[in-house]
Amino acid sequence: MRGGNNYQIKRERIIKLIVVLLILVMAMSIVLLVENMLASFVIAFVISYLLSPLVSLLERTGLSRNMAVVIPFLGVGTILTAAIYILIPVIDHQLASIRSEIPTYIEGTTRLISKTEQYLNEFAGAFHKFDIATTVQNKLVQWSASIFQNIPTLLSKFFTVSLLAPLFAFFMLRDGKGLFLKLLELVPNNLFELALHLQHQINSQLGGFVRARLLESAIVGGVVWVGLASIGFPYSLLLGITAAITNLIPYIGPFIGAVPTVILAFVNQTSGMTLTLVAIVYLVSQIIDMVVIIPLVVARIVNLHPVTVILAIIIGSEIMGILGMIISIPITSIIKLTGVSIYNHLLGFRASDRV
């Protein structure tokens, strides 16, 4: 093949590659360094992945892309407002109940602590004297002080994210494709098909993963809510919501979700029968999750070894706390997919290293 233009072609490819990498690094820096940007983007991605099938469905009826994006946002906004109106009195009632029963819980907790202290001192009193009450009191004072200090920051974070995330999701759904095409125009010709193929794979895997995980969490939360409500356990809705959110963290999440219920049960000095029923509720929710939802929905989408998953969760929690634990699996999956694709592409090119 002719080699006259080779130098020019290589030069153009390098310039384009540098421009694309610079754009990606800048975008990543903004997302990681600007406050609230990461959480807003993660939630925006989740919203856009959830709504994209609905947007496509509306487009199929003949609506323009703009209208097909606006209608789901209006619909979801209305449903959320209605849900908040319906759920707020229930949550408010449960919170008011917690407030009114705080003295009982304090009494229960004190009793639990003193009993535990008594048992421990009976066992190991000769070697060490336990003073759990003082330790717990100090911890509680520190904890409540930090909560009150952090409330303004948390509230401002919450409002910023809840404003930015839907806004980003709206533009992702409306202009995402166009922006991606513009970025692809800058990708050098020799990497273009690889980039397109990779984006398609990541997009379909991530979309499936997000939808599957949210469905899984909603089912687990629903089972816990209904189960606890049917045995007459207090704050079933709040505990169901907690179980749904923590279930997003693989392996460890279900245990974290059960902790408030267990504490509540011990503090309330719940009977052995109720305690067994509570355990059955959580067990049933996890059996449904492990036997039905994970094999049928989640495992088919992300093919990662359990050890990789646990390592990813630990690294995620070290870097970004709870958010890191939740997003560690999709990020690991993207890294694996990108690594494998680039490796295969490079191997393919090693055979004939020409322009």
Binding site: M1, R2, G3, G4, N5, N6, Q8, I9, E12, I15, S56, E59, R60, K177, G178, L181, L184, E185, N189, N190, F192, E193, L196, H197, Q199, H200, N344, G348, F349, A351, S352, R354, V355
Partner: protein, 186 residues
């Protein structure tokens, strides 16, 4: 770099017109009306290639097809290593000109490899239409998707018929060549 930005900004309008014409003239999109062509135009990828630049190589995993909007493309087949120079021997198969397309088999194959190497013979503009794009069209506008898929099936059917004819021609050619030899051997 400056040239690239210059071309990118100022050639946009003319490019858009010629892209629609190129799509309309392509057999795959020939059944689409102007509204449907505008929809497809927002999905396809416009790529510029310098003379002698490789579009794709034989053996690479193919993602989709290209329509030649401007310029011409040479198709080569790599035939193992040339022992004297240690380079792969290339056999020129054909030269494709404006309006034609190539690589369409990748639209329906799962991780199918390119059967030949495509290289720009002169500075060329190609319209890329890939499997993710076809899936997107089918999901967002099934009417357009079905029209394109039907045409694609037609193209592949024609290719299959041509290949079958060629195979039977070759077979009869081989038979007619081997029969007299067998007769003379007896």
């Amino acid at each position: 770099m400056i040239n690239y930005i210059w071309e990118f900004i100022f050639n946009k309008k003319t490019a858009s017109g010629s892209i629609q014409t190129a799509l309309k003239n392509s057999y795959l999109f020939s059944q689409l009306n102007s509204r449907e062509l505008r929809f497809v135009e927002k999905i396809v990828h416009i790529r510029q290639y310098r003379a002698s630049e490789i579009v794709f190589r034989q053996g690479e995993i193919g993602v989709g097809m290209y329509i030649i909007a401007k310029g011409s493309i040479d198709i080569f087949q790599e035939r193992g290593e040339n022992s004297s120079e240690g380079e792969e021997e290339q056999v020129h198969i054909t030269r494709l000109s404006e309006g034609t397309f190539f690589g369409e088999l990748s639209l329906v194959e799962e991780n199918g490899c390119r059967s030949a190497t495509a290289c720009a013979q002169e500075d060329s503009t190609l319209i890329g239409f890939f499997k993710p794009d076809l899936l997107e069209v089918l999901e967002r506008n099934p009417v357009i998707g079905v029209k394109i898929t039907f045409k694609l099936a037609e193209i592949l059917g024609q290719r299959l018929r041509a290949t079958t004819e060629k195979v039977s021609q070759l077979r009869s050619h081989i038979r007619s060549n081997t029969a007299p030899r067998e007769m003379s051997a007896q």
